[in-house]
């Protein structure tokens, strides 16, 4: 792999212009890998390791019964949220995702303590313990959750895009969804209106290859998901979602397209989750070897580590950062375990905003 400071041929695949009358339509450029500075690489590494350690700890706390219900871990997919959100302006651009949402919150710099305390259902949690793993929000950061119904965030995201356009605030919405959600009808209803009204939105399919236990080609007649917007005239780009620089590069191109008033764009991030769909998934639908092979060959964190070494960052510096992150995560876990559960009266608050 070449040094990050020198451009290399990107592995990004762009949907071919379809044959027919509209083949002359303008299309986005083929993205190139992002040229990150040493500082930026360090920051990517820090965020990705933070997500991984945080999620490992969440898994551990789940095993101890401190986290209940459903808990979907982001391990393996770290490069996607970090690569994309590093290109956004928090407080201006908006982000919305499904229930696998811890990583996206961490990538937006939201305090790990508040996230972990939400996982353990404590008063100090970001949703005051009333949302849980799947329902976390930070309106301050324009992070709109945290949605449990597969695909709902795509329509809601189109609504956020609508609000950006209505207010003419220059913001762009990023709506993440999985390869499973990509088969929901409302996704296509939203594609249609988003393109029709040229809404400023980047649709991001996090294709981690399995919708719960069903692989993409067992569920999708068109398994090249970046083509899924074509019949709505939404251009698509397939991206190596295990490489944070490829992700960031594609996001830059997508932002250029959307901010240029061209309407939405679709990014398919080819990624992989190492863990089960949720904590209770025995993952019998894929082999142990498949997972191990992804970890060995394509791990996004190992990838950045390599870039860092090439950029002259020492092993000791990396190790120091690892230690620092372990400490942050341990503190978050400690906070989440020791802070109190919500007061009983919270059961009845926030049902409605107003009193009638």
């Amino acid at each position: 792999m070449a040094k990050p400071t020198t451009p290399r041929a990107s592995s990004a695949k762009k949907a071919d212009a379809p044959a027919g009358a509209d083949h002359n339509r303008p299309r986005p450029e083929t993205p190139t890998d992002y040229k990150a500075s040493k500082e930026e690489l360090l920051e990517f590494y820090r965020q990705m390791v933070l997500i991984r350690r945080f999620e490992e700890k969440a898994g551990q706390l789940y095993g101890l019964g401190l986290i209940g219900g459903f808990c979907h871990l982001y391990i393996g997919q770290e490069a996607v949220a970090v690569g994309i959100q590093s290109a956004l302006k928090p407080g201006k651009d908006s982000v919305i995702t499904g229930y696998r949402d811890h990583g996206h919150m961490l990538a937006y710099g939201i305090d790990p303590k508040l996230i972990m305390a939400e996982l353990t259902g404590r008063e100090a949690g970001i949703s005051r313990g009333k949302g849980g793993s799947m329902h976390m929000f930070s309106v301050e950061h324009k992070f709109y959750g945290g949605h449990g119904i597969v695909g709902a965030q795509v329509s809601l995201g189109a609504g956020l895009g609508f609000a950006h356009k209505y207010n003419d605030d220059g913001g762009v919405c990023v709506a993440y969804f999985g390869d499973g959600a990509a088969n929901q009808g409302q996704v296509y209803e939203s594609f249609n209106m988003a393109e029709l009204w040229k809404l400023p939105i980047i649709f991001v399919i996090e294709n981690n290859q399995y919708a719960m236990g069903t692989s993409v080609n067992r569920a999708s007649s068109e398994d090249q998901l970046y083509r899924r917007g074509e019949s709505f005239r939404i251009p698509g780009i397939q991206v190596d979602g295990m490489d944070v620089l490829a992700v960031r590069g594609a996001t830059e191109e997508a932002l250029k397209w959307v901010q240029g008033g061209n309407g939405p764009i679709l990014l398919e991030m080819k990624t992989y989750r190492y863990r089960g769909h949720s904590m209770s998934d025995p993952a019998k639908y894929r082999s142990r070897e498949e997972v191990q092979s992804m970890r060995d060959k394509s791990d996004p964190i190992e990838g950045v580590k390599k870039y860092l070494t090439e950029a002259g960052v020492s092993e000791d510096d990396i190790k120091a950062m690892d230690q620092e992150i372990r400490k942050i995560v341990a503190e978050a876990a400690d906070f989440a375990e020791t802070s109190p559960e919500p007061e009983m009266h919270e059961l009845y608050t926030d049902v409605l905003v107003e009193q009638y």
């Binding site: 101890l64 908006s94 956020l160 019998k284 926030d350």
Partner: protein, 455 residues
């Protein structure tokens, strides 16, 4: 520093499991992601991965052991230079379980009691002119006034703009406010309900029109899961101030799929406001209040009432309180409780009853959630008899809810059982005679009222 490896909970319901097989032995070096053991849960056999790096110390629970409680120490591991904090004892879970939530006295009813209990319709100044207005025009005027007042308000739906509204409710809005704020959608209810909810989360004030509420079943996920639950799930951080409106209930000869009252459906959902007005003044005053509310509102209109004219006060800003019933006609012998189109039938019935010497009080609930039970119970104290009139199915209806509330809180005031006058419990038929037989009418209300008056 040693780390205790504990029996993990591998599913939301697991309390114990079988340690089927150890895949490591004492003295093995493991790293994060290595499988330590296979554990049989109540659902499946799961692989249990190491989270930390280190060397396996003592194995305390041998393989094949059944009924190992979650949290039991199954092995010890020597950590990497003490950098990993010891895993905590899982006491918090036990505590959390032991402390079952005790429901405070009154529950949601307590909250309702804390709400403004004495709120009344604003007094209409003496000398105010009243203008005959159709419900259709009143609804349009409400939207137009709120759009003039607040730039964030927009109207979206099928045929709301260029067609001027499938039922002409949005007539003229496109001309005044333009295509940015009056938006025709494709036929795509699920999609535009979601776009509306997302826009509300993003700070706008959408008014989403469903051509009829029958089609909103396609979108009900966003009304309930996205709009109604957001404020609660976010701990009050994220709001969804949106109005979903359109005609509801039976129209005329349009068959089963286009004829249904969804009032009871939405009224069952905490987090929603549900309004179902009858006359033009209430339609206007309540729609304006709905658009201003910080909460998601389902606003149920009725196609058969759109064309009826009523007196509407000519005021600059006619806004009515949400959650307050209205006494349409005072009386002392029997209380007729209704909403939407049923109110007209109840008023007709009251007129007939008056001719037979029965003085009926007619209450229009106006809001179905929160329900103004105080007004109903107050009336019951006076009349001791209640008939609920509802153009909708009987089972799990608003009428059922009123009957339950009266049983719980007004039992001693009852001189007769609560009766429900509702549609027949069948899908609405097309044939004219069958449709007529399936729907409520004033005669049935009269019969029920006489029955509870033992006349």
């Amino acid at each position: 520093m040693g780390i205790a490896i504990k029996m993990p909970a591998l599913s939301p319901t697991m309390e114990e499991g079988t340690l089927a097989k150890w895949l490591v032995k004492e003295g093995d070096e493991v790293k994060s992601g290595d499988i330590l053991a296979e554990i049989e849960t109540d659902k499946a056999t799961m692989e249990f991965e190491a989270v930390d790096e280190g060397k396996i110390g003592k194995i305390m629970i041998s393989e094949g052991t059944e009924g190992v409680k979650v949290g039991t120490v199954i092995a010890e591991m020597a950590g990497e230079g003490g950098e990993v904090a010891p895993t905590p004892a899982p006491t918090a879970k036990a505590d959390a379980k032991a402390e079952a939530p005790t429901k405070p006295e009154g529950g949601a009813a307590k909250l309702a009691a804390e709400a403004k209990p004495t709120v009344q319709d604003p007094a209409i100044p003496e000398g105010t002119e009243f203008v005959k207005t159709t419900v259709r025009e009143a609804l349009r005027d409400a939207m137009a006034e709120e759009m003039r007042r607040d730039e964030r308000v927009f109207v979206m739906g099928e045929e709301v703009a260029e067609y001027q509204g499938a039922y002409k409710v949005t007539q003229g809005l496109l001309d005044e406010f333009g295509a940015k704020r009056v938006i025709d959608t494709p036929i795509t209810e699920y999609g535009f309900a979601g776009i509306g909810a997302g826009a509300a989360m993003g700070g706008l004030r959408p008014v989403i029109e469903f051509m009829t509420f029958n089609f909103a079943m396609q979108a009900i996920d966003h009304i309930i899961n996205s709009a109604a639950k957001t404020n609660y799930m976010s701990g009050g951080q994220m709001r969804c101030p949106i109005v979903f409106r359109g005609p509801n209930g039976a129209a005329s000869r349009v068959g089963a799929q286009h004829s249904q009252n969804y009032g009871p459906w939405y009224a069952a959902v905490p987090g929603l406001i549900v309004i179902a007005p009858y006359d033009a003044a209430d339609a206007k005053g309540l729609l304006k209040a709905a658009i201003r509310s910080e909460d998601p509102v389902v606003f149920l209109e009725n196609e058969l009432v759109y064309g009826r004219s009523f007196d509407v006060p000519k005021l600059d800003d006619h806004v009515l309180p949400i959650g307050k019933a209205r006494i349409m006609k005072p009386g002392k012998d029997v209380t007729l409780v209704s909403y939407s189109i049923g109110v007209g039938l109840a008023l007709d019935a009251a007129e007939t009853l008056a001719g037979e010497g029965i003085d009926a009080e007619v209450i229009d609930l106006r809001t179905l959630r929160p329900l103004d039970t105080a007004t109903v119970l107050e009336s019951l104290k006076k009349t001791n008899r209640i008939v609920v009139v509802e153009e909708g199915w009987p089972t799990c209806s608003i009428a059922s809810e009123i009957a339950a509330v009266v049983m719980e809180k007004g039992f001693d005031d009852l001189d007769a059982p609560v009766l429900r006058v509702t549609n027949e419990d069948v899908p609405l038929p097309y044939a004219a005679n069958l449709e007529k037989a399936a729907l409520i009418d004033a005669a049935r209300v009269v019969d029920a009222a006489k029955k509870v008056c033992y006349k």
